[in-house]
Symmetry: C2
Subunit: 266 residues, 2 copies
């Protein structure tokens, strides 16, 4: 991913500036509509290669949009003047796998050996679904998407391993088929669903009890449709317990200057 | 569809010649592999426009590959020297909606006011599924595909109306998702599924009792996946009861010179 920032640059810059100044500290859903938003993972350099190999081997849950130079807080390929230390509304700081802080910026814990990974986020394909007239339940209900740990193992790479985490959107069957078509066009933001219809087959015993996010109702005339989820790397990190790690706080993403429509391969 | 016949012409010509001479009278599945096979409907000219409008309005079940000139038994756009009166292994002749004969050729009932319609067939996309490593159950079991009348109404056009008929293939969820991707590339042979997972939602009370074809088992770890079916025009014809009509006999299709791969839009 080295797409060039385009006319949507302005909205992205405006929102990041607001966030950088501390004027906005909430979830980024709905900000700079049309712009790609990204999950953020920041790791010490000595773990970066294994993590990138893990992402490369598991592109459905971990589609990498950009990797920073070690020690550099910038993602020049994702947008103008992005500073990953200040431009997200809230962060999570982890030490030995334990969440130790949720600060508004991470300048004071920044180190010269850190490498940032921007990972694709389902906001991009949800925008395409909504544009096609398909109801996305958690958007309609204004809550967080339900997410589940599955029995689908990720491919192990170096020290990183763990289960695939999936997000779930209930849909009528004809909408589910259309959603496969639409999201297949977006391989860099999780792509097509990985499963639908039979949650127990992927190790989800109770659809009403997500492991992350909020439960949403599934109608008798609907199927649960599951996509690989960007929380998967966090599950792997929780398992590896690196001495130091920074991630975005849930729902508080990096707003880039890329357009979602530019991610479509067809 | 006006694709040019190509190298596969030879196998198509060979098989049609065998059939024309009466040397082959069985189902055409597996003949001239790679070649497009088609459903055939032949109607008097005074019904032809309504039927073509019906097909145009219902492209998922009735994808038209070619329409002949009135009185001409040829489909030049589908292949070399095709004669629709002799080149299918077996026909069905209908009078006032009643099946009156199943002859090996229809030269003796041919009329100068007849118009032939070649309609896309699921054999084309099944070939693509099998090539991708997806099991197609009725092929594996060497029986006919199960087909069902649904509660999905076709769009009415002139005198023609009726329910959509669907074919069903059981698949594991991940294969069903892959099958949506593969068959979406083939809109001229039914395209993507119209439904999956909840047969009762489209008026199918018992999946083990198809209205046409043979029942196939659906595993507990599988979903029934439904495609619009080329039997739909026959269901409409049964309802309209035209004074005269000829169709192919089930499974005994018109073998063309077109290549299935050429039908892929992507």
């Amino acid at each position: 991913m080295n797409a060039i920032a385009d006319v949507s640059e302005k909205a992205g810059v405006t929102e990041r500036r607001r966030i950088r100044m501390g004027a906005f500290t909430g979830p980024t859903s709905g900000l700079a509509p049309g712009n790609v938003q990204a999950n953020l993972v920041i790791l010490p350099k000595d773990l970066a290669h294994d993590f990138l190999r893990f992402a490369q081997a598991n592109p459905r849950p971990c589609p990498v949009l950009a990797v920073s130079d070690a020690g550099s807080p910038f993602f020049p390929s994702l947008g103008h003047d992005i500073d990953m230390r200040t431009d997200l509304p809230r962060y999570r700081v982890w030490r030995d796998g334990v969440l130790v802080d949720e600060p508004l910026d991470v300048r004071d814990v920044w180190r010269d050996d850190l490498v940032g990974f921007a990972i694709g986020c389902s906001f991009s394909f949800e925008e395409a679904l909504v544009a096609d007239g398909i109801e996305v339940r958690h958007i309609a209900l204004d809550c967080n998407v339900p997410m589940y740990r599955t029995n689908i193992p990720c491919v192990t790479a170096g020290v990183f391993s763990g289960p695939m985490v999936v997000s779930m959107r209930p849909m009528k069957p004809a909408d589910a088929i259309r959603a496969v078509q639409i999201t297949s066009r977006f391989p860099s933001v999780h792509g097509a669903p990985v499963h639908l219809g039979l949650p127990e087959a992927i190790g989800i015993p109770d659809i009403s009890k997500p492991d992350y996010g909020d439960a949403v109702p599934v109608g008798a005339d609907e199927l649960p449709v599951f996509w690989a989820c960007g929380v998967t790397p966090q599950a792997a990190i929780a398992q590896v317990k690196p001495p130091f790690c920074i991630t975005h706080a849930p729902g508080m993403m990096l707003i880039t200057d890329l357009k979602n429509t530019k991610l479509a391969v067809l």
